[in-house]
């Protein structure tokens, strides 16, 4: 595959890009920090990416730049046939609640920006016979919790969009995959209390790549979260009101 990836410099995105590089997929990095992308590109090349790994600037908060970034990816990869968006913003509920500007930026990047980017990419891929669009939601979007419903809302909206995108574009050859990570140990979650079923980025990457290959429309990582979320979604509202959850 020729994969353009947003957010490959850190955490799950880094692990995922490595896994793709090691099996020989061509990669193109999109992101905000060019120095960081430079370092990650060299890392991916040393790990086996087939050609030199290119990069272009993309900020999920600035949709005006998306077309140019996708053009650059198309040029760098000869022809992009997959877009993966692992990047996103995260902050704790109390941080978001206290700072409306920060909340707006998070909603704008995680939802508006990601939706606009994926929509554009899907259209582009459909026009040339198909491909893959993959973006990272979160289990936090599956059911609102009082502890992180602001972040969760941005991911719930994204999940609904990806669900629809899959229905709309699969007939035109575009597969859409929504990844729903539970708690994964990365620098994003550093310092937060670690719940049961916490996962490692490398294990997440393995599962996501398998789901990409299998053409799934949704994958929970680590796998245990699929069952956990099934139960949590089934909880009656009265219970949710009562427990500190």
């Amino acid at each position: 595959m020729n994969v353009a990836i947003v957010g490959a410099t850190r955490g799950m995105g880094r692990a995922l890009a490595r896994r793709l590089a090691e099996r020989g997929d061509a990669l193109f990095l999109l992101g905000r920090d060019e120095a960081e992308m430079d370092l990650s590109a060299r890392d991916l090349e040393a790990r086996g990416a087939p050609a030199s790994v290119g990069q272009a600037r993309l900020d999920l908060g600035e949709p005006d730049g998306f077309a140019a970034a996708l053009d650059a990816a198309d040029r760098g990869l000869s022809r992009m046939d997959a877009l993966v968006v692992t990047g996103g913003l995260f902050a704790r509920q109390e941080e978001l609640a206290a700072d409306p500007a920060r909340l707006a930026a998070l909603l704008h990047g995680n939802f508006t920006g990601t939706v606009l980017l994926c929509q554009q990419a899907a259209e582009r891929l459909a026009g040339r016979g198909g491909g893959l669009v993959c973006a990272f939601g979160s289990v936090a979007g599956d059911r609102a919790r009082r502890g992180n419903y602001l972040y969760g809302a941005s991911k719930a909206g994204l999940a609904a969009f990806l669900d629809g995108l899959d229905l709309a574009y699969r007939g035109r050859g575009v597969r859409v995959l929504c990844v729903k990570p539970g708690f994964v140990r990365t620098s994003m979650t550093d310092g937060l209390p670690v719940p049961p079923f916490a996962g490692e980025p490398e294990a997440v990457a393995r599962r996501v790549v398998a789901a990409m290959d299998a053409g799934c429309h949704q994958v929970y990582v680590p796998g245990a979260w699929r069952v956990v979320m099934l139960l949590i979604r089934a909880l009656p509202r009265a219970v949710l009101r009562r427990v500190q959850f």
């Binding site: 850190r10 090691e22 990650s40 060299r42 890392d43 086996g48 620098s187 550093d190 310092g191 937060l192």
Partner: protein, 452 residues
């Protein structure tokens, strides 16, 4: 900057691989190895395989900076084997990525779950020390983040004093950010292994000496509960990388089944009787005949890595690992004295590892010197075990030997000073680059008088 504003790392238990001592610390795992701006003291840490207190904060609740997420490869030259990587890259990753391409770490300790940065900071040695020396010999360049936050490059030919103080300097001269090292060419991922049972210490030392001329990797396992005539009884092992012809049609070694010790073993498990029989069984399983076979590099270099968290076998109180080296000039006697003392105390556990070392490195605090090194586990029984270590240290000092800081948890400052003739030079370089001793650890408080 990966630090999330307003988020402080949670307090957690921090211990070395020996699980003694244990303290509390705030562990940060940044991807970019920057230092906090407030100048707070900190201790660098890799994968936590040092046994004692080398990567424990100086005071409970102190800051620990774990490097494992700084693990990017900056470049690799396939023509020369030069690898430039961030300090948190593990040897396990180096092996996974580069063995299939025909390259091997130039020096490897007995576990692959160590970071490249820690290999430098401890100047680790391996089964090839008699021939190839220690890890620092293969390092061309280091980037260090010094106490002021500035990045400084050093190497054998640049800022040489800082380099010599950092190799083996236990992370106390600055934070190692990236490392350029030279990998070794290999023809196959397989090892030609010869094992032979030996009856006693003299035969073991002689076997190591004779093997050293033709074999790049040598090591002996000693039953340290054997006494008298049997003192030093054990198994001699020697190995080399197999050629393509020897490897034949074998492909890649298959990864071992993931085994783990799921919980702390009970205290009574490692009683002297059990250990005596374990050691006998181990010796018996190898026999005395010379045997040659081909094994994977994992089986040869990292037998213990096959069992995840094997340190739990020593129960909740943990264990101390004792490793010393005795100079060749002192002859075999001090080795015999140490083994005798251990056998009498009945304190040692399964097996001791014995190995001959080649010439010492120029690095000020590098552990190996030309002679014989002995490493063994001592289940932690509190004051008794500490007293035994001090007692062993007295013998080691008497004969001009020293202990290995990556294993140590209890050696006294005055004893360590008597073991290391170049300690003063090291202190001077450290003071120059880090006058406030911002980089400090439980070990540096214990041995170098840093403030807790």
């Amino acid at each position: 900057m990966t630090r999330v504003p307003g988020r402080v790392p949670a307090m957690e238990d921090v211990a070395g691989w020996g699980r003694h001592p244990v303290t509390r610390g705030r562990v940060e795992r940044p991807e970019d190895l920057s230092l906090p701006e407030d100048g707070e003291p900190l201790v660098p840490r890799g994968l936590g395989r040092a046994y004692g207190d080398a990567a424990l904060p100086a005071a409970p609740g102190g800051l620990v900076l774990e490097s494992t997420r700084a693990d990017r490869i900056r470049s690799f030259e396939p023509a020369t084997g030069r690898l430039h990587c961030e300090a948190g890259l593990s040897l396990a990753e180096v092996l996974r990525l580069f063995v299939p391409r025909g390259w091997f770490p130039p020096v490897t300790p007995g576990t692959k779950f160590v970071t490249v940065g820690a290999c430098v900071a401890c100047d680790v040695h391996g089964k090839n020390h008699h021939r190839d020396g220690s890890f620092g010999n293969y390092v061309d360049r280091l980037t260090l983040r010094t106490a002021s936050g500035r990045l400084v490059e050093c190497g054998p030919d640049r800022e040489r004093e800082l380099f010599l103080a950092t190799v083996g300097g236990m992370g106390l001269t600055g934070l190692i950010v990236d490392v350029t090292l030279r990998l070794r060419r290999i023809e196959s991922p397989w090892i030609v292994l010869e094992t032979q049972g030996v009856a006693g210490l003299d035969a073991m030392l002689e076997g190591l000496r004779l093997s050293a001329t033709h074999w790049p990797y040598t090591v002996g396992w000693i039953d340290c509960l054997a006494r008298g005539r049997d003192l030093g009884r054990g198994i001699l092992m020697r190995g080399r990388h197999a050629t393509q012809v020897e490897a034949g049609t074998r492909g890649r070694p298959r990864p071992a089944l993931p085994l783990r010790v799921p919980f702390d073993a009970p205290e009574w498990l490692l009683n002297p009787l059990f250990m005596r029989w374990f050691n006998r069984l181990y010796a018996w399983s190898h026999g005395t005949a010379l045997k040659r076979r081909i094994v994977s590099h994992d089986a040869f270099f990292y037998p213990l890595d096959a069992v995840g968290q094997w340190n739990r076998l020593y129960g909740r109180r943990g264990f101390l690992q004792y490793q010393c080296v005795l100079p060749r000039a002192a002859g075999p006697r001090p080795v015999a004295v140490l083994l005798e003392r251990l056998a009498v105390a009945g304190a040692a556990s399964f097996l001791a590892v014995i190995k001959d070392c080649g010439p010492a490195s120029d690095a000020y605090l590098s552990f190996p010197i030309e002679g014989t090194t002995l490493a063994l586990d001592l289940p932690n029984r509190g004051a008794v075990t500490e007293a035994l270590v001090h007692d062993l240290n007295a013998t080691v000092i008497e004969y001009g030997g020293r202990v290995y800081l990556a294993k140590d948890a209890v050696t006294r400052a005055e004893d360590f000073a008597r073991m290391m003739p170049r300690l003063g030079e090291w202190r001077a370089v450290r003071d120059h680059w880090d006058p406030e001793h911002r980089f400090r650890s439980a070990l540096s408080v214990r041995l170098f008088g840093d403030r807790a």
